[in-house]
């Protein structure tokens, strides 16, 4: 993955617009968070291969970045995004990593279901 460049991401977000797509949205502190430090709650959420369609999309912020996708009846939002790749499966993978290279958040868009 490489550091996010806003205009590239904006362009890719627009290519998925008004299409029925699969989404992977995840945020995680790691499963050991409370084990290492009792004051630090362990929080993890992910949804994989939810099917959505959005008609507005924007990337904002000066890094780390935020992405908001507006759907007919709701929103998808992710904050803390730092890196990206558009892979050979035509999937847009956005992720937020901390200084040690650990993933803290992921937002991924694809026209085909994500594997595994």
């Amino acid at each position: 993955m490489k550091p996010i460049t806003k205009h590239d991401i904006q362009a890719y977000l627009e290519t998925f617009m008004n299409k029925s797509i699969y989404i992977h949205l995840e945020t995680t502190t790691g499963a050991y968070s409370a084990h290492k430090d009792e004051s630090s709650m362990t929080v993890v959420a992910f949804i994989r291969n939810a099917k959505v369609k959005y008609h507005q999309a924007k990337i904002t912020g000066n890094g780390p970045f935020r992405v908001g996708l507006k759907m007919e009846e709701g929103w998808i939002y992710a904050e803390g995004l730092t890196d990206w790749i558009y892979n050979d499966q035509n999937q847009l993978l956005l992720a937020g990593h901390n200084s040690e290279g650990q993933l803290a958040i992921a937002l991924q868009l694809s026209e085909i279901p994500f594997k595994h």
Partner: protein, 221 residues
């Protein structure tokens, strides 16, 4: 009865952290070791520093790392169970036990190593251990192999006491280090810190390569 060790743990690298030493000692003694690994650690957080993995490539990378770690430990029978990281506790409990039972029946091990249910921190660890225990409890007590459990919750000493099995692994410390190194995506950062500590003879770091401790599971019936 011919000795055979069966390791059942959910994530690639669980075996290297918790049992690489005992595995290496068993292999040196010519005892077969089967490792049933539940998932490919698809939800791992460590993506390399600098980054070399992403959410979609990580399973493939970790599969290769797992195979390399098994080579380092000389495990010749690796079975990947195809479960998904972070989901074990949400599977049907009986079906998960069925899966463990089929492997146990196939291998007929004399020693099983798994996680101590309720004392292994990660929900997948607890669910994996619970499924193994559930499968074994379906057998009459006399047919259950010796079962060693890994426990590391902060409350373990209060709740289940001191571990009753301590294995000196100093003669295979290099194998354990190589197994951990094989899981590069997950261990590289930690090992860099560890190597400095080892050079300074930090007692906590030394422990990783000096001994492994287990709780013999005590059957409730």
């Amino acid at each position: 009865m011919k000795e055979h060790v069966l390791i059942i743990l959910p994530h690639p690298d669980d075996e290297s952290f918790g049992a690489a030493g005992i595995i290496a000692l068993k292999r040196k003694a010519g005892i077969p070791v089967t490792y049933a690994c539940g998932t490919l650690g698809e939800m791992g957080r460590n993506m390399g520093n600098p980054l070399f993995a992403n959410r979609e490539t990580l399973p493939f990378i970790r599969k290769t790392e797992l195979e390399n770690a098994c080579k380092a430990m000389d495990i010749q029978d690796l079975r990947m169970l195809g479960l998904r990281d972070k989901t074990l506790e949400f599977e049907d409990d009986e079906q998960l036990a069925d899966l463990m039972e089929s492997i146990i029946n196939d291998v007929e091990p004399t020693l099983i190593i798994t996680f101590y249910p309720g004392y292994a921190v990660h929900p997948d660890h607890d669910a994996c251990g619970a499924a193994v225990i559930r499968a074994l409890e379906r057998r009459p007590k006399v047919r259950r192999p010796l079962t060693y459990c890994l426990a590391f919750t902060n409350d373990r000493f209060d709740k289940i006491g001191e571990p009753d099995v301590t294995i000196d692994i100093t003669e295979v410390a290099d194998i354990k280090l190589n197994a951990l190194k094989a899981h590069r995506s997950q261990t590289e950062g930690m090992l860099k810190l560890m190597e400095e500590k080892l050079l300074n003879k930090d007692p906590e770091a030394m422990l990783w390569f000096e001994k492994e401790v287990f709780y013999t599971y005590k059957w409730k019936d």
